[in-house]
Symmetry: C2
Subunit: 415 residues, 2 copies
C-alpha cells in the first residue's frame, strides 16, 4: 500500500496536512464567492420580513427535500434508502429500507401477542405491556437485506447504470432497543433437544425462519424501539426479532410466534428463497452473517461533479461479524490505496462513516473503497465474488464497488 502523502499522485490529500494547511488548501480548491463591496453585498431574505410558521406535533422534512425519498419497487416488495443523500450512521426512520413479500400488516398493539412454545417447560404469551416491563438492550446497528446489491451480482459483463441508492439502498442504520430474547427463552425453560427456534411473523405471507438457539441466547432482541420511538409499521410494528449482523429477512417483523424445535423447519423463506447457488449447483442455506462491505456514497453513480477541485469522499462500511478496523480508498482503479479517516463512534455491527479529502484533476478517475473488519475479513473483488457462486446467485454480494468519474464529471457504475 502506498503511504499517505499530501502530494499523492492519486489526488488524495493527507488528512493531517489538510487539517494543518486547512483554509489555504480549500481556498484554492472549493472557493466560495468573495463579496464584492464587502458588507454591502449582504442581502436580507424575505423570511426575515414575515413571521414564520407554527410548529407541528410531529415534524416533517422541508418541502424542498421532496426528492429525498425511498425508491419503492413497482411491486411494493422493497423500498430503497437514498444512501447517496444520507450522511452519517443513522438512517432517518422515514427513509429506512423496507423489504416484505405480502405487504405491511396493520396491527393493533393491544391485540398483538407473542407466543413462545414447543420444546419449553411452559408455553408463554407476552403482550406489549408485559414486554415493556422487561430490561431493554441494543444499540446503534445496521440492518441489511441479504439481497442488497443483487443488480451487481446478476449483471453480465456490463455493470448496470444505476445509482448508489438503487444498488446499495437495502441497508440502513438505527438505534434498535428491545427485550433480550434470552430472558424470554429462559423464562419459558428450554427442554433438552431444543436447538432451533422457528420464528414467525403476523404477515399475510407467514414469513418464517429457523434460528439457531445460540444466536437467540446471545445478542438477539425483540425490538420495540427504533431511533427512540416505537418501530414503524414497515419495520415490524409493534415488535420484530432483531439479530445483530445477520441477514435482514431473519429479523422477522411483526413477530408472533417462537417455537423451540430440534431441527430447522426448512420454511419457504430458507429453502425456496434466501439461499445461494454454488458453482457445482449445490445450494447454500443458512448463510446468516452479512459480510464486510463498504461503498462510497458521495460522489457516486449518476451524480455529477460540478468542477475540478476539492471534494470530500464520503462512505459507509459495515460488517455482520463486528467492528470495522479500517477502510482504504483508491482513485486509480486499485493501483494505490490510501487509508480513509474513520469517524467514530466505531460500533459493533453498525454502519461506520469514513471520509477522505480528494482533489479531482479533471481526468478519468476510478473510485473504490475496501473495508476490513476486526476479524480480518476483507471485501472480494467483483470477479472473486462471482467465482464463489453460480451465475444468477445474488445474495450476500459484498464486492468492492467501482465508480468511474468521466472527464465531464459524470459518475457511473463500472466493473
Amino acid at each position: 500500500m502506498k503511504k499517505n502523502n499530501s502530494k499523492s499522485s492519486g489526488g488524495f490529500l493527507d488528512r493531517r496536512s489538510f487539517i494543518k494547511t486547512g483554509a489555504s488548501l480549500l481556498t484554492a480548491l472549493a472557493a466560495p464567492s468573495v463579496l464584492a463591496g464587502g458588507d454591502k453585498g449582504i442581502k436580507v431574505p424575505d423570511a426575515m420580513l414575515i413571521p414564520g410558521a407554527f410548529d407541528d406535533e410531529y415534524g416533517k422534512p422541508s418541502g424542498y427535500e421532496k426528492a429525498v425519498k425511498r425508491l419503492v419497487m413497482p411491486n411494493g416488495n422493497a423500498a430503497f434508502t437514498p444512501l447517496d443523500r444520507q450522511r452519517g450512521i443513522i438512517t432517518p426512520p422515514g427513509l429506512h429500507f423496507g423489504a416484505h413479500h405480502s405487504g405491511i400488516p396493520t396491527i393493533n398493539p393491544e391485540e398483538h401477542e407473542l407466543y413462545i412454545h414447543g420444546l419449553t417447560e411452559k408455553a408463554l404469551r407476552f403482550t406489549l405491556e408485559d414486554l415493556a416491563r422487561y430490561p431493554h438492550e441494543g444499540g446503534v446497528m445496521f440492518l441489511e437485506c441479504s439481497g442488497n446489491t443483487w443488480l451487481q451480482a446478476t449483471s453480465g459483463e456490463q455493470a448496470p447504470d444505476k445509482s448508489c441508492a438503487e444498488l446499495y439502498g437495502l441497508v440502513s442504520g438505527s438505534e434498535w432497543l428491545g427485550v433480550p430474547v434470552r430472558l424470554l427463552l429462559e423464562e419459558a425453560g428450554i427442554k433438552p433437544g431444543g436447538k432451533w427456534v422457528i420464528v414467525e411473523g403476523s404477515d399475510a405471507g407467514t414469513h418464517a425462519r429457523s434460528i439457531p438457539i445460540e444466536k437467540l441466547l446471545d445478542d438477539a432482541i425483540i425490538a420495540l424501539y427504533q431511533n427512540g420511538e416505537r418501530l414503524r409499521p414497515a419495520q415490524g410494528y409493534p415488535m420484530r426479532l432483531f439479530l445483530p449482523g445477520w441477514e435482514g429477512n431473519m429479523n422477522v417483523k411483526w413477530v408472533r410466534r417462537m417455537e423451540v424445535v430440534e431441527a430447522p423447519a426448512f420454511t419457504k423463506d430458507e429453502s425456496r428463497a434466501y439461499t445461494e447457488t454454488l458453482p457445482d449447483g449445490s445450494i447454500e442455506q443458512f448463510s446468516f452473517y452479512m459480510g464486510v462491505k463498504s461503498v462510497i456514497t458521495t460522489p457516486s453513480g449518476q451524480q455529477k461533479l460540478p468542477a475540478k477541485g476539492f471534494y470530500e469522499l464520503n462512505g459507509l462500511a459495515w460488517s455482520g461479524f463486528g467492528k470495522i478496523s479500517y477502510v482504504e480508498v483508491s482513485d486509480d482503479d486499485g493501483k494505490t490505496w490510501h487509508k480513509a479517516q474513520i469517524h467514530g463512534p466505531v460500533l459493533t455491527k453498525s454502519l461506520t462513516r469514513f471520509t477522505l479529502p480528494w482533489q479531482w484533476s479533471g481526468n478519468i478517475a476510478r473510485l473504490q473503497s475496501r473495508a476490513v473488519d476486526e476479524f480480518g475479513n476483507r471485501q472480494p473483488s467483483h470477479q472473486e465474488w462471482k467465482s464463489k457462486y453460480l451465475d444468477g446467485s445474488y445474495n450476500h454480494y459484498n464486492a468492492i464497488q467501482t465508480w468511474e468519474v468521466a472527464k465531464d464529471g459524470g459518475i457511473s457504475n463500472v466493473f
Copy 2:
C-alpha cells in the same frame, strides 16, 4: 454509598445477579401469561388473512402511536420532546424539541446564503452547494434549551404536577453533521482583534448571539444533516450553527451571517433573554455550558405502575462539558444510592442511557438519579440550585429530580 446488593433493602436488584438468575427472578416479578392448553391457545390474527399495505416513499409511525407527539405550547414558541415515551439516545426527527420566537421560516435552500464578514481579510458568501463540498464533522450529541425544566426552577414550595416531557422535554439527541466553522473562518482570514462572532439567523425575530471565537475554532459546525437527512425546518433548515454542549439558543438556526468583531454585541438574546439573576440581583450573562443533568424517564411523573413487582428504571444523563462518568439512583429519597448500568456508546456531549432493575414493594418510593461527568461535575439538590440564583431565575436548572411513587402506583413530581 451503599454497595450494590441483590438483597438491597431499597428494592434495587444487582445487575449482575439479575443477569445470572435471569428468568427465575423475572418469572416471579413480571410474569407473562402461561397458555392454558399449550399450543391450542395460539390465536391467528386477522392481519395474517389479508394482504398488507404498500410501502410509502417517506414512512410514518403507526396510527396507533398518535399519542406520541410533541407538546406544542399555545403560543407556538416551544415544542417538547415526549421524553417519557422515548428509549435510547436518538430522538426521532419528528419529535425533536423546538424553541423559537418568531415562527419557523420557509427557506428555499437555493436562495439561502451564509456570509462571513467583519474583521476578516475577505468577506465571503457560501451557498449550500459550496458547503456541500467541504469536509463534514460532528456526531451524536444532545441539544438542550437553557430554559429546559424552568417549571422546577420557578416553582415555590410545591412541585408542579407535570410529566417528564413537560418538565424536561426541551432536550433531544441527534447525529449532527456539518462543516467545521474553523475551516470557514480560516478561509475568510481573521484579522487581529477579532475575538467574538455575531451569529444571526434568517428568522423574523433576527435571533442573534455573540460567540467567543475560541469555540468556533474548536468543535463548532455549520450543521447541514440531522440523523442522516437535511435539518428539519424547525431545526434551522437549510443550516444552523451547532455548538456541542452549549445552550440551545446559541446554536443559531437558519444561520445567515457571521460577523467577526472585537467584543460581544449584547444582542437582545443575550441581554434581555438568556441570562440568569444571581442572589445579589446582578445578571449573569454568557453562561454557555449546559451543566451535568439526568432524569429517570420511565417510570416518571403522571405515569402509573400497574402492579407491584419488577421494573426497569430508564433514564438519560448528559453534560455540556464532556462524557458522563456514572449515574447513581436512589429509591429512598437519597438515603442510599446505587450505581446504574450505563449503556454505551458513552459519547462526549451526548445523551447517555442508564438503567437499573428495580422491584417495587408497593410502598411509597422516591426515585432519584444523579449524574457525574468526566470532570467531576455533579448535579446539585433542588435547594442547592435555588440558592445560587434569585427567585424567578430559571435558566440552567440541573438539580436532582425526585419522582414519588404512591401506594396506588401513581407517580408525581415532588421536591
